[in-house]
Each structure stands twice: as C-alpha cells, then as structure tokens.
Amino acid sequence: MLGALTQLLIFQLVGEVVARGLALPVPGPVLGMLFLFVALLLRGGPPAPLQSTSQNLLQHLSLLFVPAGTGIMVHLHRVADEWLPLALSLLISTAATLIVTALVMKLCMRAPTGDAS
C-alpha cells in the first residue's frame, strides 16, 4: 500500500511539473492520470498493490470533495444578489448538458452499424 501510494504521488508530481513547466491549461493530477494510463498500457496492467490501493481510494472519492465543498460557506454571500439567475442557469445547463451528451452518444452508436441496441 505504501509503495502504491508513492507511485501515485510520483505520477502526480511528474504531472504537476510538466503542467507548470509547459504552462498547460490542465491540472497536474489530470496529466498524472494520463501518464499512469500510458504506463499501464505499456506494462499491460496495474500491479496488484496499485490496483487495491486505488480501489480503496476511489471507493470514497466523494469524501475527498467534502473539504472543498464546505468552502461554499465563505462565498455564499456572492451568490445572494443574483441567486435566481444563478440557480436557473445551473439547473437548466446541467440538465441540458446531460441530455445533449447522452443523446449525441446514442445517435453516434446507432449510426455506423445500424444496430439499434
């Protein structure tokens, strides 16, 4: 587990260095994910400890958003003046994004083969 965690941190570190070094618009951890993915392709799969540590970490992924989410209390007053346009914009836009993405994917999956599964 310690080794696996170290591996994850190393990939994050490399991602962070590359993202900052090249001034890329993508955050370091996302690049780290990309690098690890490429490494897994080259290696032909994750070693068992990395697999189980990652599973543990991802099982409670929602926990990791709680500290940042609680930060909402500091900025809530910014929302107060314009809460109606903000609320409607978020609600409509989130629903529209879900619908459009799923529809376009469904259409594309049906088109090339003619298979309507």
Binding site: S54, G71, L107
Partner: protein, 238 residues
C-alpha cells in the same frame, strides 16, 4: 466545569485534529444515510456532509480557514485519487476504444452545451457580465475552472461555488434525467455525468457501476482540457 470545556475547545479549535475528525464523521454519517436509502442520489453524501459541516462550523463560530487546516489532509488526497482514475480507465479501455466516435462527439456536444447554455440562461435572466463569465467554466473540475474564470475576467471564488453546486446537481439529478430518456448504457450514463458534473459526478458514477465511473473519469479529464480551450474563444463571440 464550563471553563474546562471552554479551555478544551480553545485547544481543539486551534489544532488540525478537529477539522479532520469532523470531516470524517460528517462523511461517514452522510454515507450511512446514503446507504440506508439504497444509494438514492437525492441523499448524496457530499451534499449531506457539506450541509452538516457548514451548520456545525456556523454554530460554533469556527472559521473555514481553521477548519481547513485539518480538512486539508483529506483534500490533499484528491490529487493521488485523480491519478488513480487511470486504473479503471485502463480496465475499460477496450470499451472506450470501441466507442471512440460517440465519445468524441459526446465530448464536443456536451462541452459546448455546458458553456453556452449556462452563459445564455444567465444573460437572459439579467445576470451581470462578471457573473456570466464566472458561470462559463462551471462544468469542469475546480482548479481548471478557477484558472479559466481568472483568465476571462470572471470571479474565481464565485466559480468555485458554482462548480461544486453543478457537481452536486448532476450527481443528484442525473439518474432521473437518464431514466426519463431511457438511457441505460452505463458507459453513456457515466460519460454524460462526467461531462456535466466533473469529479463529484464521477464519484457518484463509481458508486453505481465501475464502467460508469471509468467513463465519467475519462469525460472529466477530456472536458477539462477542451473547456480550457473553448471558453476564452466562446466568450469572445457570444
């Protein structure tokens, strides 16, 4: 007696122990409720835990900075957890590769919809220009979204709030939208939730199904990069 409690509180509120412990407690309580409801998306654990913590911190007069001094240890794990998303992605790679066209088309359509609809609805309802700009990157993960908002003249801290609310909205509402649309493919459901509501949506997708989670992670990463490219260009022409 009361003074003892007062002194204990002074000690606790100055140490990172309290912030860390209440984060774990609030989350485990929220997760217990979530499980008791049979993983009902309305009982989203992030939503419940955040609500409980905000109430607790407000009632005790604890500042967010003090709280975060402890909670940062949990927050820090977001980095390695994001890296770890490569593993489910690898496991599902065969399916991803066979769906290259739908994935790319869904990404482009979803990314454009997320940006344009948020800005236009806000403009229609008379939101200020800074607010509209802060809304544009709301569907991508917080660090990318704040960076974009800063670059285009939005308010980064407002964007941070909008990103989290968007994440929770998607995690809570996606199931109802997909069921109404009769979308059953876990890959499509996961990908759409990752486009619309980034990491919080991805966390929900993982709780439902590993394939959904992998596609959500893929969508979140790709949409982060695409949105960073699209937003500056789109707000110039909108």
């Amino acid at each position: 007696m009361t003074q003892d409690i007062g002194q204990i509180w002074v000690y606790l509120s100055a140490s990172p122990l309290l912030g860390l412990t209440i984060t774990l407690l609030a989350y485990q309580g929220a997760f217990w409720i979530y499980q008791r409801t049979g993983h009902n998306p309305l009982a989203n654990p992030v939503l419940i835990a955040v609500a409980a913590l905000v109430i607790f911190l407000s009632l005790t007069g604890t500042s967010y900075e003090t709280y975060f001094a402890g909670a940062q240890f949990v927050h820090f794990l977001l980095g390695p957890a994001t890296v770890a998303l490569a593993i489910p992605l690898y496991t599902q790679f065969k399916r991803v590769r066979s769906m290259l066209l739908p994935v790319l088309a869904g990404l482009l359509a979803g990314s454009l919809t997320a940006i344009v609809s948020a800005v236009l609805v806000a403009r229609l309802l008379g939101a200020s220009s800074a607010t509209q700009l802060s809304l544009a990157p709301k569907s991508v993960t917080t660090p990318i979204a704040m960076g974009i908002a800063e670059r285009i003249g939005g308010i980064p801290s407002l964007t941070a709030v909008l990103v989290i609310v968007t994440g929770i909205l998607g995690a809570v509402g996606a199931r109802f939208v997909f069921d109404a649309m009769k979308v059953r493919d876990p890959a499509v459901r996961g990908f759409a939730i990752g486009i619309a509501s980034h990491g919080i949506g991805t966390a929900r997708a993982f709780q439902v199904n590993e394939q959904s989670g992998a596609f959500a992670a893929l969508a979140m990463g790709m949409n982060g990069a695409l949105t960073a490219l699209l937003v500056p260009w789109l707000v110039a022409i909108l």
